[in-house]
Symmetry: C2
DNA sequence: CCTAGTGTTATATTTTACTATTACACTATA
DNA sequence: TATAGTGTAATAGTAAAATATAACACTAGG
């Protein structure tokens, strides 16, 4: 896993696992890979991975069973809320950043459309 | 200045000053506040501010004159390039994040439009 | 020439993040 | 009962970021 050196590694691991859960790569009730396995997979220390998981446990997105594993919550409402929260956070962030560069609302939408179009053609 | 504790402070200061330059709050050729003044303004250490400025000097967005001050570059092409770079980076980031959540291109644009609409109504 | 203000750098300390290593507690299975 | 695998936590060391403090070099103006 490639880490952005501007953001704490545990935070990026957390975000990555949230993505796995939201997209259904990890389903409600499904067991996560063990802490040790995840550490190997993402190339980080066990304690760093455990740091990420702890926050996810606190957020009630995963449940921990000592000796058994960590499991994705069965409460799909929580996963839906998590998705909304992450999507909104991203939109808010990009909007604030571009708005702060004096782009109008229309310009923000248009530049995203143009960016997507360019991406499509780059493939 | 409110700092995001997930991102290095010098990096946020750099980004903040780039915004001032791109929006014209700081104009080409204009002198920046002194390092000591900036440190007070943003509530950070002089060395941290100097760290931010050093990167901007290396990027040739500002010019340093020891004993006189730091000045915004007169080359507006560089400022234009910086704007494009920052805008593109933001769009890339939000696109990657939302794409990784399995939103389609249309959904990404639509959710941004809806977000902006909601923002307008919340005021 | 002196002073105030400027940028730049160095040193030391603190804080936070990360790693390496080890060990403990729990669980399931043979 | 023993073993392998699980989660959790502790300790120690390293690195990066941030701060505090001090000092040096340059500039402009009185």
């Amino acid at each position: 896993m490639n880490f952005d050196d501007k953001i704490p590694i545990y935070y990026q691991i957390e975000n990555y696992i949230y993505h796995e859960i939201i997209t259904g790569a990890l389903k409600p009730g499904e067991k996560l890979p063990s802490v040790r396995q995840l550490a190997v997979d993402v190339t980080a220390n066990v304690n760093t991975v455990q740091r990420a998981l702890s926050e996810m446990i606190t957020a009630e997105i995963i449940e921990s069973k000592r000796g058994r594993g960590n499991f994705v919550t069965m409460e799909t409402a929580k996963i839906d809320q998590l998705k909304v929260k992450l999507v909104t956070a991203q939109l808010e962030r990009v909007y604030d950043q571009l708005h702060a560069l004096n782009l109008s609302d229309d310009e923000i939408v248009t530049s995203l459309q143009q960016y997507i179009q360019q991406r499509g053609q780059a493939k």
